[in-house]
């Protein structure tokens, strides 16, 4: 593999058995298709949000509820976690020690948990300010969109914990590696969704 040949998007397995590559191609492509389906889901929830922004019905709106510093911190945490997951993928691909890979993954998990913690704090503050979902159409749309992303991150974190368990149990076998590759795609994809969220929901709401 002198030239970099991409068999599939995302990080490739290093030099591997052709049969492994064939399995990986199918699995990774399948996961991409799933991600695109998920993207449509998010897209429609976004369109619901955008068309409901005006429907505050007397309840507090974006300017009263959103806190830009907290959102900024969340954005940085998620971006950092994307980077650490990238480092994890690199150490997997280039067969560094297992400890290094696990270290990066744990760091990613910690950053993800930090993001979720901050986000939960934001949500609680919002409710305290009268921003619970049952107060207006706008708030309903907000509470569908942003927590949906949060649920995805939660799901990804649980998956990450399971993968750490698999690494402990089986080491880095093909199945675990494929799972890490898919989770990497998922994680980076969620970061892209977050770009849309901080722009459309928070920044546009506060502008």
């Amino acid at each position: 593999m002198s030239q970099e040949v991409f068999h599939y998007p995302g990080l490739n397995l290093g030099k591997a058995h052709p049969r492994t590559h064939a399995i990986a191609q199918t699995t990774i492509f399948g996961f991409w298709v799933f991600l695109m389906s998920d993207a449509i889901l998010f897209g429609l929830v976004f369109s619901s949000y955008v068309t409901s922004v005006h429907a505050t019905a007397g309840a507090p709106g974006p300017k009263q509820l959103f806190d830009i510093t907290s959102v900024f911190a969340e954005t940085l945490l998620l971006l950092a976690s994307s980077f650490t997951f990238g480092m994890a993928s690199l150490s997997m691909k280039y067969s560094h020690s297992k400890r290094r890979l696990v270290g990066w993954l744990v760091l990613t998990l910690v950053l993800g948990a930090g993001f979720l913690g901050l986000e939960t704090h934001d949500f609680l503050t919002m409710v305290a300010k009268g921003g619970a979902p049952e107060h207006s159409g706008f708030l309903s749309a907000f509470w569908d969109l942003v927590p949906l992303h949060g649920l995805h991150v939660t799901g990804g974190s649980i998956w990450l914990i399971c993968l750490l368990g698999q690494i402990k149990r089986y080491g880095l076998d093909t199945r675990t590696k494929l799972d890490i590759m898919r989770l990497a795609l998922f994680w980076h994809f969620l970061d892209i969704v977050w770009i849309a969220i901080f722009t459309v929901v928070y920044l546009a709401g506060l502008a």
Binding site: G30, V33, M36, S48
Partner: protein, 703 residues
């Protein structure tokens, strides 16, 4: 803590009133008696059917067989068969409901015999079942069975996921069946428009049944779509370029792509409705900034592609049927492929024509109206291609061909009424009338249903190893066609005369003769369904004289006919090499069709997995708990589902190997059968002499 609250904690909002005959017993008025008897009878049929099936399996000691051979199977062929079984069971229920509705309207001049609530449940379940639990499982089942064989693959890309999809669909179907016995179904129609379906207007379990049944089946369909699309992209036999694929596989590809992208809007719409109903959100409510039109918009972003998800596989089936029974290669293959792709893309751009009257601006209506009419162009291309395929072919009028020819005539009519409706100014006149009901039945029955039944006839010998009885098949086909015309053509007139759809009773005597005619048509369709059942029984009893072990009873053209009938678990002993369209016709022409391979190899297949049935059962438990507010069940089942997925993640030993020697022995045995069989000409294809080996010397057999 009071007793009432403890009971609520245990069984949720279930009360005696939830049983279908309770009101009849409590308050025996004439109306309650009639409706209670019908609902009670339906519940008894559902429970009785379940009891008979369970007792039968127990008596025959078949539980272990059922579990290990079927429920946990990851074989795409068995999963396909199970899908079609679900479809037929659900079709039985939905057709009976249709006959009831037509009877109600036929006698609807003085109020009829059904209560409006009961009638509302009938049209809601009829529509929901026919779309989500008849047409979808049927087409997914056929694709599941046929597509991997057509592309020369051993299985789909993700066999366990396939089993999960099946079981989620089954869970949804069982949930709909449960609504016969526990509580009542929604009266909000198959698209469940809010605000009527909001908790404020329909606080009962009905809309919840609808929401969760759709969610289960929608999730299953999304996963199936992913599975099929990846399979077609990644698992094709060596040499099979995209433009060598049989047209049915092309149709399967377009349909799966549409499933992947069209199901999310439905998920969003039903999830938001659920949030409204369960957590007091305000998406679609009348007050506090909710807007029910969001739902209409989201639902039809899904809904329009959905009808093409249904019809495109049927187009694929018709393509195979026309070309096989005309003994000719398909006319205009490339234009057919292009047309299907155009239809698939255009179908995402026309959803507004379902709600021209909603109140958006006229320019929007104009744009989407024109886009809707544009779909007529690729569809027209396909119609001409099919006719050209028959032209100068040696056309055999078999049961599938009767459906196919009936389809061409009737579908063109339905399509024309569609062009009429695509004009917003006309649509305003006939919106929500029976004209619309006539139109979509006119495209869906001859288009989708005829196609699926034609496919059922066409591939049945491949699946079970014997042909279906031809005489009953032709009789059923004629009943379907005539019954359809009698049942739905009057509705065009009724619609123009102003009869709104879903009318439970009316005051206009001029409607009666047409309604009576339509009722007659519905009965004829009932006869057609019955004949299909009789045909199945007759064919089963006479199976030994109709066997086609060689596997090619119709002189087929694509790879699925190249293997035994029924095919071995691994489909092909050695993956075939493909170098042209109509791969099997080419092989037969060059005499390479029934040759032993140079070398046999071990075959790796996925092991059975309990994942599918377990997830299906837990999915049902979650949905049922949500419907009845049985929260402990919801929590337990959700935890169980997570645990199952985590445990599955730790599974490693998931494949089994079939040794080369075993493959060789089986294949050699089949080749013996092939050598012993007499080739038959097309004149004899419906006679017992047809063992599935086509005579290649006959005139025009392989052109």
């Amino acid at each position: 803590m009071s007793t009432a609250s403890i009971v609520y904690d245990i069984i949720g909002r279930f009360t005696m009133h939830s049983l279908p005959f309770y009101d009849m017993v409590q308050n025996p008025t004439k109306e309650n008696l009639i409706n209670g008897s019908i609902a009670g009878f339906a519940a008894c049929v559902a429970v009785g059917g379940l009891v008979i099936v369970v007792a039968g399996i127990t008596y025959l000691k078949k539980w272990r067989w059922l579990w290990s051979e079927w429920l946990t199977s990851t074989d795409h062929k068995k999963i396909g068969i199970m899908y079609v079984v679900i479809a037929f069971v659900m079709m039985g229920r939905a057709i009976i409901e249709a006959i009831l509705m037509r009877a109600q309207q036929a006698w609807g001049l003085d109020g009829g015999f059904l209560s409006p609530n009961h009638f509302g449940q009938l049209f809601s379940t009829h529509g929901t079942i026919m779309i989500f639990f008849m047409a979808m499982p049927f087409l997914i089942g056929v694709i599941n069975y046929v597509m991997p064989l057509q592309i020369g693959a051993r299985d789909v890309s993700f066999p366990v996921l396939n089993s999960i999809s099946l079981m989620l669909t089954a869970a949804g179907a069982i949930l709909i069946m449960a609504s016969l016995v526990f509580g009542q179904f929604s009266t909000g129609g198959w698209f469940g428009y809010p605000p009527y379906t909001e908790a404020h207007f329909l606080p009962g379990v009905g809309p919840d049944y609808w929401i969760w049944a759709l969610s289960l089946s929608g999730l299953g369909s999304t996963l199936t779509g992913i599975n099929f699309a990846v399979t077609i992209f990644k698992e094709r036999a060596p040499g099979m370029k995209l433009f060598y694929m049989p047209l049915f596989t092309w149709a399967a590809l377009c349909t799966s792509i549409m499933m992947i992208f069209a199901m999310p809007p439905l998920t969003v719409a039903t999830a938001q409705l659920a949030l409204d109903r369960y957590l007091g959100f305000h998406y679609f409510t009348n007050e506090l900034g909710g807007d029910m039109m969001h739902f209409v918009n989201l639902f039809w972003i899904f809904g329009h592609p959905e009808v093409y998800i249904l019809i495109i596989p049927a187009f694929g089936i018709y393509s195979e049927v026309f070309s096989t029974y005309s003994g000719k290669a398909l006319f205009g293959y490339a234009s057919m492929v292009l047309a299907i792709m155009c239809i698939a893309i255009l179908s995402f751009t026309v959803w507004v024509h379902h709600f021209f009257t909603m109140g958006q601006g006229p320019s929007i209506n104009a744009v989407y109206g024109i886009a809707s009419m544009l779909i007529g162009i690729p569809t027209g291309v396909k119609i001409y291609d099919w006719m050209w395929t028959m032209f100068r072919g040696r056309v055999r009028i078999t049961a599938p061909m009767i459906y196919a020819i009936g389809f061409i005539v009737l579908f063109v009519l339905g399509g024309m009424s569609g062009i009429v409706l695509a004009n917003p100014s006309v649509d305003f006149q006939v919106h929500n009338t029976d004209f619309l009901v006539a139109h979509f039945h006119n495209v869906i029955i001859p288009g989708v249903l005829f196609g699926l039944i034609a496919g059922y006839h066409f591939w049945f010998p491949k699946v079970f190893g014997y042909r279906l009885d031809e005489r009953w098949g032709i009789f059923a086909a004629c009943c379907w066609t005539l019954g359809f015309m009698l049942a739905f053509f009057p509705l065009y007139a009724l619609g123009i005369m102003g009869l709104p759809r879903r009318t439970v009773a009316y005051a206009q005597p001029a409607y009666v003769p047409l309604e009576m005619a339509a009722f007659g048509g519905a009965l004829l369709i009932g006869v057609a369904l019955l004949s299909l059942l009789i045909q199945l029984v007759v064919s089963y009893l006479h199976r030994d004289e109709n066997r086609v072990p060689v596997g090619d009873p119709w002189d087929g053209r694509s790879l699925e006919w190249a293997c035994a009938a029924p095919p071995p678990e691994y489909n092909f002993p050695v993956i075939p090499m493909v170098s042209d369209r109509d791969a099997f016709t080419a092989a037969k022409a060059f005499g390479t069709a029934y040759l032993p391979p140079a070398e046999y190899v071990d075959i790796t297949l996925p092991k059975n997995a309990a994942m599918g049935p377990v997830i299906g059962a837990l999915g049902f438990a979650i949905a049922f708990g949500l419907v009845w507010h049985i929260w402990w069940l919801v929590c337990l089942a959700t935890l169980g589902a997570f645990a199952t997925m985590i445990v599955r993640g730790f599974a490693r030993d998931t494949t089994k190997t079939i040794p080369a020697a075993e493959v060789e022995a089986e294949y050699e045995q089949w080749l013996e059968v092939v050598r012993a069989a007499t080739p038959v000409t097309r004149a004899d294809e419906t006679r017992p002499v047809n063992q599935g080996l086509a005579d290649q010397t006959a005139l025009g057999a392989a052109s």
